[in-house]
Structure formats: C-alpha cells, structure tokens
Amino acid sequence: MTEPVKSAPPLVFEPGGYAKFSGQQVPLRQRLQSLIGVFARDAFRATPAKLGAALYLLAPLCLAAWLVVRSYLPDLPVAIGGDGDALSLWKFSKIPTAGQVHCDLQALETAFAVNSFLLLLGQATQIAPLLARDAHQGALLLYFSRPVLRSHYLLARLAAATSIGSLLVALPSLLLILVALSQHGLQPGGCPWPGLTGALWWLALMLAVVVCAVVVALATSLVALAAGVLVRNPSAAPLAMGGLVLGSLTVSWILQAAYGRQGLARALDLHHALQAPWFLLTWLLQPSAPPKPVLQVMLLGLVIWVLLAALGWWLLQRFLRNPPLGKGRA
C-alpha cells in the first residue's frame, strides 16, 4: 500500500517545524561586541574598501622587505635615522625620508605621502554613508526593534570605523619601527638613551603611534558619520565628506599662497590638522624635536578638529533621538 502523492504541498517544513528558543541570552556587552564585528566586516565588504586597504598595507610591507634585503647587501647599507630624529620613522605614516635611508626610496616616500592623504579621504567617504544607508534601507528599524541600545548602535559603528582606520594608520609605522629595531638595535635612529631606558623609549614611541592613530581615526569617523547624517542620502554623503576635506585643503592652499604662512594655513586644513596629535606626542616624548611655532599651529588644528568632532557627536545624538524609521528600500 503506498501513500497517494500530494500534488503541491503548500510548504515543506523541516522536521520539528517552529520551536521556541530555550537557551540562554547573552549579556548586552557581548551583543555590542558582535555588533562591532558585523560593522567591521561591513566596512570591508565593498571592493574599493578592500582594494584601498590592501594597497595601503602592501606598500609598507614591500618597503620593509626591501629594507631587510638591502641590509644584507654590503655596498648599500641601510642607515635609518642618522640625523637624530627617529620620529621621522613613523610620523605621518610615512617611510623614512630619502635623506635618512641611504638608498633611492624617493618614489615610495612620495607614494606614502599620497597614501596618508588618500587614507583620510577614503576612510571618510567609506564611513559617511553608513548611517544614511541604514536609514534608507530600513536597517535602522530592524536594529531598534531589537533589544539594542541606540547608543550601542552608534558606539559599534564608531568602534568599527575607528579600529579599522587606526589599524591602517598605525600598522605601516609600527612595521617600520620594528624593521629599524631589528636591523640596528635600540641605539640608532635617534634614541637618546641606551639600554632599558632606550627600550622603554621605543615602546613609548609605538604606543604613541597607536594613540595618535586612534585619535585620527576616531575624529575622522565622527565627522564622516555626522556628515552622512546631515545629508541623509547615502549617495551624497561621500561627496559631502570628500568636499569637506578637499574644501579645507583648498582654503589652506589659498591662505598659503596669499600669506606664505605655511604652518598657520595648514592648521585650517583638516588633512594636516590630523597630524596635530602626532606633533603633540612627539613634543611630549622629545620636547626639543619640533619647533614651537609649528606645535602651536598644529595644536590649533587639533582644537578645530576636536570641535568638529564634538559637533559631529552632537548631531549624531540628535539623529538617534529621532531617527528616520520609515520606509525601507533594501
């Protein structure tokens, strides 16, 4: 005896069908961590982001490999530092200047200089549309109709963007410091102290790299997210943020051309203002290294940047108090 074949069952349920969940729920903090993980992966999902990050990290890796190879060639020894400023190893995320490394690395140095600017622009334009996109596609409604604090949503977005940005800023510099250390020990490269003190000094330098990278990435993320919230259009947000960076750069160029006050002009230029934390920490570690007027100007840039970030934070808070939870267009 066989069962008659049903012509078209309305729906095939797996064995068991719907069942209530009987497990334990994880605490809120763990949920925040998983949110950060998802947002971090989200930031790298787009092909331009993957490509940009790969290129940015590939350059210091190539340089590190090149330095190691060159150090084994007796005719072309690599002498990093020399003029007494090890800070040049890592500041601005650049490779050592061509003058400090006795081989022709001018092209790579230029590439890094361009990279440090493109990183800011790239990171900002990647981050700017995120909130607007979530609102536009209805994902905000999905997040806020779940047991997720609105502040956690914002914190997770910021943490993901900041961690990726700071990683990209810090990694090349840390890599170069480690290469210099492996090649020349503690003393060369401008370290004024031998032995344990010197080791601590290098460690402080590396920590400074991380702190500065985090400050730069956090400030960039805050302003970029706020720009996206202001525009509220995922397509226009990158343009708005790119416009902000390029606009400030243009103002800086105009002032520079008109008054020849390079440092002061750069304080108004957000790209260069981001270097302020580096200068500040440079000065703290080695008070005699940066000339004081430059430090003052850079600090002015830092103040401008911090004010912008504070304004961004206020805008984001206002956005989250009354977020657009309307029609989604996935």
Binding site: A19, Q25, L35, D42, Q137, G138, L142, V148
Partner: protein, 322 residues
C-alpha cells in the same frame, strides 16, 4: 536579560490605557484603551488610522504623549530591552541588513536579540528551513524575490523564539500562492503558543488566520473583540436555516412585507430585533422545521465598512446609515 516570568495565556499580551500620541498637528492616537488578547489578533483600519503608531508604541520606538503602555506585562518604553528580547517584529517596509546573504541576515538578527553566536547560527538554519528558504540561505538577500524577502523577514522575526510576534502587512505584494504559504506559516507559528498581532489591508487574511480583531479608525478603537462578533452584523439581518425547501418561507415572509432572499437552505431576512417574534410566528405558520435562527454574519469587508461608518460622520453621510 529578561527575568520576567512567562505571561499567562489569559493575560493580555499588551494593554494600552488612555494612550494619546500626536505628531505635530496630527493626532495619531486619541485616548486609546485597549487590551490585546493572546492568540491571533488582526489589527485593521484604513490608512492613517494609527496602526503603525500603535505598533511603534508597542515596540518602544516612540513614547506615548499620555497614558501607559504595557507589553507582556512590562511597561513601555521603560523596559524596552527586556520586552524586545521577547518580541519579534516583521516591518512592513522592505527592510534588510545591507550586504548580507540570507543566512547572515537571520544570524545577525538572532545575535541582536541576545543569542550566542552558536545558538544564533543553529536557530537561523532552523528558521530558514521553517520559512522555506533552505536553498537560498547563501544567496545575497538583495537578490531575493519579494516573496522570499517577506519570508526572510519572517524568519528574522521568529529566530529568537519570541512570545509575541508583530507582523506589519506580511502578505503585502505576494501572489495568491505566496500569500497562502505565508498564512500557513503564521498559523504554524501561532499553533506553538506564540501570540501574533497581524496588521493587514487584505481582509481575507484576517478571516483565514485571526481569532480576534481590533479595528482602528481616526486614532481611536472602533472595535475590539472576537472575529465572530465583528461579523455578527448590525442586528437587522437574520439567517433562518430550514429543513427542506426554503421557498415557501420566503414567499410568506415576502407577503408579510419583509425583505428576504434565499441562500441554499438559508433564508436571509431584514428585520429589527423587535420583529424576531413575528418571524418565528411566520415560520410556524409556514410549517417548516427551523434548524438555526440567528443574526446573519456579514463578510469581513461589509463588517469593516459598517464599523467605520458608525464612527465616522463623513462616511456615514456619504454612504447612508448602516
């Protein structure tokens, strides 16, 4: 996480007391007193009636200007996190997490609802199987058809095993087959003891799955009660089921000046409640056996319009007295 005891099946899943909500000049809800019972409840109302506002208040997305809202015995929005961990919501809009494939959408939703990564993945697979998306779990959700997206959103809403499921237009845009599948799914889930609030404009959907109906009109509750009572009619139309041929009874009723018609073995008569005795007398004089005598149920569309007209003077003027 939620430490509240599971709610009693007889308790209302949500209660609103004197709730008012205004958006600028628009009064979205006005002094709403409402108990939503456990089970399958259809929330009906014309556009702008306040259904979405009601759902937003239940989900803690908005705060009522006046009154109190309780969901699963907890005050909202004070206990939003605890309540939302026990509630599943399927939005009306085409909302998805951007850039994720089907499985990741559901895993992400489960993790947001407080499940551990391992539980989330295992439950996500089950939810996708339940919703008939087993073959599409690794496809990008953005490429899903509308019906698949609706089922994906349902999977996301149920993945954490909610006690209350809020479905906003779950069958919108679906073809008849897809609609039938979706309603089957909803009934399957409700059969496991999940209370369901279903908002829809498709009245047959409510007839198919719901036990109770809430009708909102202009920010107020026009009707809240059982579906049967909702359709019971205005009390002016009666259904008499007779043994044998209904034609003689129809002739006698017509002769007595009653408007009536036959429907199979039923005679549908228009009469006031005071005239019920007279109807019984005519039945006795005709000599027909009466199997059933009671108010004639309206179809849901007629009942919907009639309830709206009771509340809305403009509609009443345009359409005449119900």
């Amino acid at each position: 996480m939620s430490t509240a005891a599971p709610s009693n099946r007889n308790d209302p899943v949500a209660s609103l007391r004197g709730v008012a909500k205004t958006f600028g000049e628009v009064q979205a809800l006005t002094a709403v007193d409402l108990d939503l019972p456990a089970g399958l409840v259809g929330v009906l109302g014309p556009n702008g009636a306040g259904k979405s506002t009601l759902f937003r208040l239940l989900l803690g997305l908005d705060r009522a200007d006046q009154g109190t809202v309780q969901v699963l015995g907890q005050p909202m929005p004070e206990q939003t996190l605890d309540v939302l961990a026990r509630v599943g919501y399927m939005p009306e809009d085409d909302s998805l997490f951007p850039g994720l494939h089907g499985l990741d959408q559901v895993v992400h939703a489960a993790q947001l609802s407080g499940l551990s990564p391992v539980d989330a993945r295992s439950r996500a697979h089950q939810a996708l199987d339940l919703c008939g998306l087993s073959d599409a779990r690794y496809r990008m959700a953005a490429g899903f058809s509308l019906g698949m997206r609706q089922r994906l959103r349902l999977a996301m809403a149920v993945v954490h095993g909610p006690e209350l499921l809020i479905l906003d237009e779950p069958t919108a845009g679906l073809d008849p087959d897809g609609r039938a599948q979706m309603l089957d799914l909803i009934k399957e889930i409700a059969a496991q003891g999940v209370s369901v609030l279903l908002s829809t404009h498709v009245l047959p959907d409510v007839e198919t799955v719901c036990d109770h109906v809430v009708l909102l009109s202009r920010g107020q509750v026009s009707y809240a009660g059982s579906l049967h009572a909702f359709r019971a009619g205005s009390g002016s139309r009666w259904r008499i089921r007779v043994v044998g041929d209904p034609a003689p009874l129809q002739r006698n009723l017509t002769a007595a000046q009653y408007a009536c018609e036959t429907e199979g073995r039923d005679v549908l008569v228009t009469a006031t409640a005071d005239q019920v005795g007279d109807l019984w007398r005519i039945c006795a004089e005709t000599g027909v056996g009466v199997r059933r005598f009671g108010p004639a149920e309206e179809d849901l569309g007629t009942a919907f319009v009639r309830h709206l007209r009771i509340d809305d003077p403009l509609r009443r003027a345009a359409g005449g007295a119900p």
